[in-house]
Structure formats: structure tokens, C-alpha cells
Amino acid sequence: MKIRRALACLLLAGLLPPGSRAAGPNPAAGASPIVAAAADVRFALDEIVARFQAETRKNIRISYGSSGELTRQIEQGAPFEMFLAADESYVFRLADAGRTRDRGTLYAIGRLAIFVPRGSALRADAELRDLRAALAEGRIVRFAIANPEHAPYGRAAEQVLRSQGLWEPLQPFLVLGENASQAAQFASAGPAQGGLIPWSLALAPAVSALGESALLPEAMHEPLRQRMVLLKSAGKDASAFYAYLQQPAARDILKRFGFLLPDETP
């Protein structure tokens, strides 16, 4: 008998919780807009969303991932209303497929950094001199970057390593994150001696507390032109958030997280 009652409770616990609009006709109807965002803007965007919510009393939900993965989800019909990519080619691809309102707006230029966790056998320097030395001396066991196939920061990391002649020798030691923030997590914890991660993540308190980083020269890789766009399904709240991201308050936050801001050009 007790078992039967426990089972009933288990079932009810699942059925009752607030907002049980599980089988509703349209999950997006009336709910706050869902924004797809590249993982490198994570900490900056969380802060911007918090401000936006405080000022407008409107809620925004965010799904973070790599730009490539999010693009695939949008192409397959995921219910996003807005997309912040880490590289504009993904936005253009969606625009060409007729899934966006327009060709979007450039909102930031991303930068790459080398990050090494505390106690690492590696030093962070902008010329990657110690990485080269460590490689020669066998001090590297694991080195993290994002997956170049679908994460723009991974592609930039590959360009950096290639330009420095480190791509080939680093091959056996590379560990690939699904997206930029997983790469940062790999670089900061576990057996990795470091990694190439977005400067915007390296500057976030949760990450900077774990080690040290050095900003890489812009010339080492193609610019990470981060473009955002409203998708065809975008509603009023998403449009308001899109506009808010171009306001001084949001731009200041982006600047604080190390992004270069585009001049007012689209």
C-alpha cells in the first residue's frame, strides 16, 4: 500500500508544478522570447539580460551553444526569435535561407586569449613563446580550444596556432570543447595546461579567478565579427531586446568584457 501511495505522489509531483502548459498548442505563445547566443557572450549577455529585465520587466530566455550548432537548430525549426552569432557568416547563411528579418547588425568584435589555470606548467604570454617552449620541453599534456568545425573561436584558435607553426605539433595534445565556454572550462580545470579561449570569458570573474590570461594580437587571426539578427518569428519583446543591445548601457557591458565595439555601421 505504501508503495502505491509513493508512486501516486511521484506521478502527481510531475503533473502539478506551476505553469503546466506542457501540451499547450504553442509553447512560444505569451512566453518570454528565446534567444540563441554564442557561448562567448555568455557572461556579458547574462549581465545585459539582468539589466534589461530590471528596466523593462520583460523576461528573456537564452540558450547558449556554438554558432554552428545553434544555426543548425534554427534551420531545423528551433523556436528562437533572435540569434547572436560569434561569426557573421552564420547570420548571412540564415539570411540567405530566408529565416531572418534582415541581414542583422554587427554588435561586437571578439578577441582571443591564451588562458592558463593556476599551478599550470605553462605561462600565458601574448606571443605564445612559452607555449612553444613548453611544447618542445614536453610540458604540455592537454591544450584546449573550441571545435573549429562549428565554433568560430575554435576556428580563430586554429588560425592562430597555424600562423605560429604550432598547429601540427599540438595535434596530439588538443582537446576540443563543443563551444567556446566548454573550451574555457576544459582550459581551466582538469589535466589541461591551458587553452585558447574568448577574451570575454577570460575576463569574467568566474573564470579569471581560476588562472591568468593574455590577450592575443588581433593580427594573429581573422577578426571575429559577431553579428546578431532577429529571426522571422521575432516578437515585440525580442525586437526590444535587439534594440537594447545597441544602447550605451549594453555596449558598456560588452566593452567591459573585452569586446571591441563596431562603429555604428551595420
Partner: protein, 222 residues
């Protein structure tokens, strides 16, 4: 702790179990009593989700649910949104992924019913529905309940299929197990730890319940 994700997981588990109850009883009972040739094949097919990598299942479901398939387009035409990346899609995926977890314990406990009892029931003129209601369900209920508990617990823990079919959409498809993945990437160890501990406890409770239920079956037949 992300309560909305936890509520979502519980809701997903509850609906999965609700759907699997009739499906599992029907299929488990059929597998237990049929003498058809095709039984072996059906058993293999229904057990497939046990051994299949969740990503393989996720991949095929994504194909089946996406805008490129008739099912996906039909669903979109009726409900106005895609089956992939929605709660309904997750639910369908969850039911399929949990088929063996629900069916196998049910089948075992139907098989444990002494044939003489069912024969006697048939001789006394009970219809098949009466046999189900008066003989099979009362005798096999611990196995049925056990299957449902396993399916519920497994739904809370499902990760690969959910990530592929559902993405990670807050309030729609970001379940408790996806939250752990997301929190780790947000460098939020406290959040990941709290959710992990909770799921650990829930799993232990579920296994305890299953253990209790199977000891009931043992007592009855032992």
C-alpha cells in the same frame, strides 16, 4: 537550483510514464503470452533503445521530427511549431527511449503468473478483458509499477537524446540533466553540484522502490 528545469523533468517523466502504462502493459502482456513466431524479433526491436547509443536514437528522431519529414511537417501544420525542440518532441523521444525499461519488468511479471490460473479463468468463461482486470493486473502489478519507476528515473537522467532532439531551451527542453551540463559550462559548480546531488538521491530512491517491488514478486511466487 533551477526549479523550472526540475519541474520540466518531473513533468516529462510523469507524461512518459502515463503513456508507457497502457503501451507497456499491452506489449509486455502480449510478449509474455504470445506463441507467435515474430515474438523474438519484436523483443529485439523493443530492447534496441537499451543498447543503442542515445545519439543514434537522437539522430534518427531528429530526422523523423524535423521539417524535412512528413511527420515533422504534419505536426508543424497542425500545431504551428516543430516537433523537434519542443516538449511534445521530447515526450515522444522519451517514450521511445524508455520502451524497454517499462516493458521488460512488466513482461517478466506477466510471465510469472501461473498458467493454471489463467487457464482456470478462461474455463470459467472470463473474457480476455476480465482476465486482464481480475487476474493479470492484480498479480503483475509490482512488475508494472517497477517498470514505470525505472522509466521515470531514466527519463530524469536522459541526456543524449534530449540534447539532440530538444536542444537546451529554458522552460521548454532544458531538463535537469541538461542543466548540469549547462551549469558546468557557466562555471557554476554550486549549481551543477546541487542538481547532481538531487538526481543522485532520486536515482537511489527509484532503485530502492524497484527493489521493494521485486521482493514483493519474489515473496508471492517464492
Amino acid at each position: 537550483m533551477d526549479r523550472s528545469a526540475l519541474a520540466l523533468s518531473f513533468r516529462l517523466g510523469a507524461f512518459t510514464v502515463l503513456l508507457l502504462l497502457p503501451i507497456g502493459v499491452a506489449l509486455g502482456r502480449w510478449l509474455a503470452f504470445t506463441r507467435l513466431r515474430g515474438k523474438g524479433g519484436a523483443e529485439v526491436a523493443l530492447s534496441l533503445p537499451l543498447v543503442l547509443p542515445p545519439t543514434v536514437l537522437g539522430y534518427y528522431l531528429l530526422l523523423a521530427f524535423g521539417g524535412g519529414s512528413a511527420l515533422g511537417r504534419g505536426f508543424e501544420a497542425i500545431f504551428g511549431h516543430t516537433l523537434a525542440f519542443s516538449f511534445e518532441g521530447l515526450l515522444a523521444a522519451s517514450v521511445i527511449a524508455n520502451l524497454p525499461f517499462a516493458i521488460q519488468p512488466m513482461q517478466r511479471s506477466f510471465e510469472g503468473i501461473a498458467p493454471e490460473i489463467r487457464e482456470a479463468a478462461a474455463c470459467s468463461g472470463l473474457s480476455p478483458w476480465q482476465v486482464l482486470g481480475r487476474i493479470d493486473l492484480p498479480l503483475a502489478w509490482p512488475g508494472i509499477a517497477g517498470g514505470l519507476v525505472l522509466a521515470f528515473a531514466h527519463t530524469l537522467g536522459e541526456f543524449g537524446v534530449v540534447l539532440m532532439v530538444g536542444g537546451s531551451i529554458p522552460g521548454e527542453t532544458r531538463t535537469a540533466s541538461i542543466v548540469i551540463y549547462d551549469r558546468v559550462q557557466a562555471f557554476d559548480t554550486a549549481g551543477a553540484g546541487a542538481m547532481s546531488a538531487l538526481l543522485l538521491v532520486l536515482s537511489i530512491v527509484a532503485l530502492g522502490v524497484v527493489q521493494l517491488l521485486s521482493s514483493r514478486v519474489g515473496r508471492r511466487h517464492g
